[in-house]
Symmetry: D3
Subunit: 124 residues, 6 copies
Amino acid sequence: MYGDRARTFLASLEDIAPDLGTYVMEFGFGDIHCRPGLSLQSREIATIAALTALGTAGPQLRAHIDGALNVGCTEHEVVEVIMQMAVYAGFPAALNGIQAAREIFHERSKRNGRKKEKQPAHKK
Amino acid sequence: MYGDRARTFLASLEDIAPDLGTYVMEFGFGDIHCRPGLSLQSREIATIAALTALGTAGPQLRAHIDGALNVGCTEHEVVEVIMQMAVYAGFPAALNGIQAAREIFHERSKRNGRKKEKQPAHKK
Amino acid sequence: MYGDRARTFLASLEDIAPDLGTYVMEFGFGDIHCRPGLSLQSREIATIAALTALGTAGPQLRAHIDGALNVGCTEHEVVEVIMQMAVYAGFPAALNGIQAAREIFHERSKRNGRKKEKQPAHKK
Amino acid sequence: MYGDRARTFLASLEDIAPDLGTYVMEFGFGDIHCRPGLSLQSREIATIAALTALGTAGPQLRAHIDGALNVGCTEHEVVEVIMQMAVYAGFPAALNGIQAAREIFHERSKRNGRKKEKQPAHKK
Amino acid sequence: MYGDRARTFLASLEDIAPDLGTYVMEFGFGDIHCRPGLSLQSREIATIAALTALGTAGPQLRAHIDGALNVGCTEHEVVEVIMQMAVYAGFPAALNGIQAAREIFHERSKRNGRKKEKQPAHKK
Amino acid sequence: MYGDRARTFLASLEDIAPDLGTYVMEFGFGDIHCRPGLSLQSREIATIAALTALGTAGPQLRAHIDGALNVGCTEHEVVEVIMQMAVYAGFPAALNGIQAAREIFHERSKRNGRKKEKQPAHKK
């Protein structure tokens, strides 16, 4: 689900806090994300919402936007979740979240050699 | 979707900041929650995640837990979203979110004269 | 400017952290609030904005709403500042700030034996 | 009031979340900033205070420092508001806010070909 | 270390999110608090500092103030840590933390039938 | 204790907010950090915990990681404090704190021409 990103992440902790990587994998992904009762897509939506609202977790927000797309969320859904955070955490949080999404969408479209979806304007 | 709760809410703003109520209804619910591209259930999951993670919006978290159940989310799903926030915003945020859920579940089961669902333990 | 509220505040710290009260008075009010370059009203507006946005400082927000009115801000101005925070910190922050203002306005109107100003709706 | 900055901002949302730009303009600037009852200068002071205290909205803080100077606030006033946040949100918030102000003051003095104001020390 | 408080805590989660209690115990206390390399007292000091600074975790802050005193921290040390947070998270955070400490100190002195330590003023 | 870092810091405020530097030195370091009742090491541990949990004070967190090592804390202790924050403020806060520690450890080991300590994995 996170592939290379997870390997790079674990490697970056290796020389300084290897157990923290283990905890993230065991508790974060093993215990929590694999629990029944909520789909992986819904779990990623919840995570993107929370990290956008907090506004203090740029690298993790980007990783989860990528992860959300890997488990089947669409770019459109990711954008909607982030945009909704304007209501609950203010416009700056939503705007910064959108910039994170933009980076990941670009990165993925470059990787995949295809154009990223253009988000339609629903407001007339 | 929010029924009496919405009416009480708007009434509480009437004498001091009536426009704020109008903005919540027009922008929050009219513009954002009614946008296509994300189901109402997913929007409530995102909201519960964000408000649990922020930890500064008790009354709004409770209103949205209620709202989530009104649009078809199950108590089990609400609990899973809140519990997941332990990973992203720490255990205190998740624990305080669970207490909010508990209040609303009790309130609803009293209102409906039925026992609330008991959440199963998945961990052995 | 804060009168009885300041005395009660200092007394509440007396037996446990008297120096903290001294620091608030010396640094917070002596050093900062008395600096030239910004009017007392503007300083209170800034404080109300920040505390509303943070959402973690209920008692201090209420004290500064009271303080703002004591240095010549109007109830209308206080309401406008708090309402504006919906844009920067989300609606829950603004809504909780408005409830704090409401409490203080009621408390003051009871104390002064006069009706508090009714805020006009500017939206049609 | 925000000029080129606003155009760049809207353009950056065009391909991914054009409606978010519309909401910022309609709700943030149209509905809220243009309300009567508080001067534009006071609204910018409130915004700078809130964004400094939150500490999660660097680009927006810089935009509003620029905006504040455009509507008639002085550099001195901007510095005073940010410095005051040390009391309410801690020194790191104030220090990071001051670095944002510094960037904008430099940018503007370069643009205008004049030296930026040197802030006087009021402390002996 | 937390005794009755832990039992009440786990019981409060029993009917709604029993696994969350298990995670707190296994991950929070089992995995993290028992790691070598930092004394239990230092771990409690770190926790009190963080929860005071966040300002969103009242019940957990109170539990850890109690826990700190149970593992050998003094009331004086607890007060110093909280007071120090004025520098890093602002005075409201420190003031609210002190009120939490006050509650717990009173509760403990009542339980133990002895007068709580009076904190000396160090400032002349 | 902070040496060159302090000088650079004060110089960066000189032209824009010199009094803020004075307040940090007088109130932050003079008044608070020098109070009796808590060791300098414990004060740095508390600061690192708080700044990691808040997640909004990158430069200050790095300065205090450096400061902690200067007053006798070990790299191992610094890592433990930051890792513990996963429990109280979520994994993203701890992970971002660890990256800050990593930067400072590298910077110091380069400065001192010696290899930084490798942190052991305690989890089997």
